[in-house]
């Protein structure tokens, strides 16, 4: 802080003598916070230790033996969970703060080691056989439970990612039955369903007020999944891509209303980009179809990007104003 600025502000009578004295005192104390530096070091330490141990185990697997490693992972996992259960603050459907600054890291360690434990069992001992779905189902349940019980957004993200994996696994074995043409269409429909499901959960989360601060994470994953699936559908079902383009536009409109309501600049940006990609695909496709062999479509394509770019800039600026005014 610049003390001269506040001297001037004080002289102009904009701030009270009390506030000025406080600022001066703060400036003299010159307290420097190393909060984020230490946090970064801690995070780096956790990362280096786990990566280093991982390599150590990998290189010495012949001498250590699988049971010892599994036991070690299980011990770390159990120990961490034990710590979390012992130190956690009481559960509530609202936001619960972490009891101390190490709690979140230890919970993350517990969850990560649990995933490794299951993966190791499956890889080495084929515990679940060919029912791969089960191998991702158990970690998913545990992750969702931990995310809600201990209130941890990072674990929630892991859980949602695991949900996607699980759905992927439950879908892909069906692939073997279907012919090859349906492979990616199944994935696309699963993606759409997952995205809609996540949006629904996001809606329930906020309307029922169950861990309301989780809503953004659900909505973020949901929006991306739905829109990526729509784009993929456009590219994949090339015969009816215009239909899918309409679906995309419908979704975008829905998300646009929602973003305006929530005053979210972030969602406005991402839906703008998705819409732009979709529209450009349609325009370029149409130009390609009318291609006459000369450079005319090329010129039109360039003109399209310039004009649409300017149009979007104007609409972004207007939306920005709209949100700020609201």
């Amino acid at each position: 802080m610049s003390i001269t600025v506040f001297e001037q502000l004080h002289a102009e009578g904009l701030i009270s003598a009390d506030a000025y004295a406080k600022i001066k005192l703060n400036k003299e104390k010159q307290l420097l916070s190393v909060h984020w530096e230490i946090k970064t070091l801690l995070y780096l330490g956790v990362f280096l230790l786990s990566a280093g141990l991982g390599i150590l185990v990998y290189k010495n697997i012949d001498t250590i033996g699988h049971q010892v490693i599994l036991l070690f992972i299980a011990l770390v996992c159990a120990g961490s969970f034990f710590y979390c259960f012992k130190n956690k603050l009481p559960f509530s459907t609202g936001k619960v703060a972490a009891p101390n600054s190490f709690f979140d890291y230890i919970l993350l360690l517990a969850c990560c080691t649990f995933i490794s434990f299951i993966a190791y069992l499956q890889y080495q001992y084929n515990l679940f056989g060919n029912r791969y779905g089960l191998a991702s189902f158990f970690p998913m349940v545990l992750l969702f439970f931990s995310a809600y019980y201990f209130d941890h957004l990072g674990v929630l993200s892991l859980a949602i990612a695991n949900l996607a994996t699980w759905l992927g696994f439950t879908v892909t074995p069906l692939q073997i039955l279907a012919s090859n043409d349906f492979n990616s269409s199944r994935i696309i429909f699963t993606g759409l369903a997952l995205g809609v499901l996540l949006m629904f959960i996001a809606w329930v989360t906020s309307s029922r007020n169950i861990k309301k601060h989780f809503e953004f994470t659900y909505a973020n994953f949901g929006t991306h999944t739905v829109l990526v699936s729509c784009l993929a559908a456009m590219f994949h079902f090339s015969a009816v891509y215009l239909v899918w383009f309409l679906v995309l536009l419908g979704m975008i409109y829905f998300f646009y209303r929602k973003a305006l309501q929530e005053k979210s600049f972030y969602f406005i940006l991402i839906i703008t980009l998705y819409a732009y990609i979709g529209t450009s695909y349609v325009v370029l496709n149409l130009l390609e179809q009318v291609g006459t062999g000369d450079l005319a479509p090329l010129y039109l394509g360039f003109l399209y990007f310039i004009i649409s770019g300017i149009g979007l800039v104007l609409s972004l600026v207007r939306t920005n104003k709209k949100i700020k005014a609201a």
């Binding site: 420097l32 190393v34 230790l49 957004l153 990072g154 973020n220 360039f302």
Partner: protein, 386 residues
Amino acid sequence: MIAYNSLWLHNLFIREQAAVAFHQNCLDKEECELINSKYPVHFYTPNLFIRIGLFILTTVILIFSFGLLALLFLDSLDKIVGGMAIFFAFLSYAALEYMVQAKNHLQSGADDALLWISACSLFGGTSYLTNAGDLANCIIIFIIALYSTLRFADRVMGAVLYISLLGIFFFVCTRFGPLGKAIVPFVIMAISAIIYLLVNKAKRLKVNQLYSNCLVVVSLAALLSFYFSGNYYVVRELSNTVFNLNLAQNESIPFGWLFWIFTVVIPLFYLVKGIQKKDIVMIRVALLLVAAIIFTVHYYYTVASIEAIMTTAGVLLMVVSYGLTRYLDTPKYGFTILEIAPQDATGKLQIESLLQVQSLTGKSAGSDGNNFGGGSFGGGGASGEF
């Protein structure tokens, strides 16, 4: 000299200061609002995400405009592409001045994109037309970056300006034969030290308040270049490849011991100085460079296997950070582990969140988005405030 309305920039500075004081609970809401009304700012500075969007879209528009221009002259493109790039640079520059002067854009994304595209295409065109060599390229970049930094106070431009200055000295030195090549590291170190001291002097001048961000970036770059021009790895490998020294595998460079001293001592020196002077930039650089020491030593002398180093370093870091957290629980020697509101020089608040002080909601908008430590780890952000 500066393109933006300097009265508003000054007012913005005062608002930022007030916002910091507010975050430290020194000012109350009414006082902040009073200050904001007394010091108006009419820049167009949209939300960060809108800024990203505007940057991307402006870049798309400009690239396709250039493409369209190139398409028109497709037949004789190789002859006129240099002149066309320069012409295009002036066009974008005119658009930039218009946006800044008439539309009052400040860090809106559109002005960032226009500045960078016009600077890059001016450089490309000039370099292509004059068939410039290394030294000439550095001089062209230096001139363009100097003008852009002075006129638009762009931070990254400031860094480019500094790097091009180093480049000029580097290529001048290499023209003086073996002796020149031998003293390159010392010349760069000397320049870095001089610039660092000058910048720190210049920071205190009131005239430079508008450039304070640029000055911070340049001093950071100077700290880094001072270290890396004396780092053993950089000096050895550069002399090997660029100056064709043809060293054998285990052969050292002349005065190798001197560079080993630099490699190890400078980061520790930064750390001590940074703690003494309470300079957070210096402390951060020092922490980063400790890693550089380890990498350099490990590259030439395999003391331990990489995984052993990682494990030990991990344990050490955890122990040290745990110890420091406990130790600094109550502030000691002016250091605290508690999170005070973002400091002015380094942890600059987003301007947008500062302006939000007008519509205070009781919590700090700046600290919500990027805390990766607490329960809001990952997930793109902590809340729906985006």
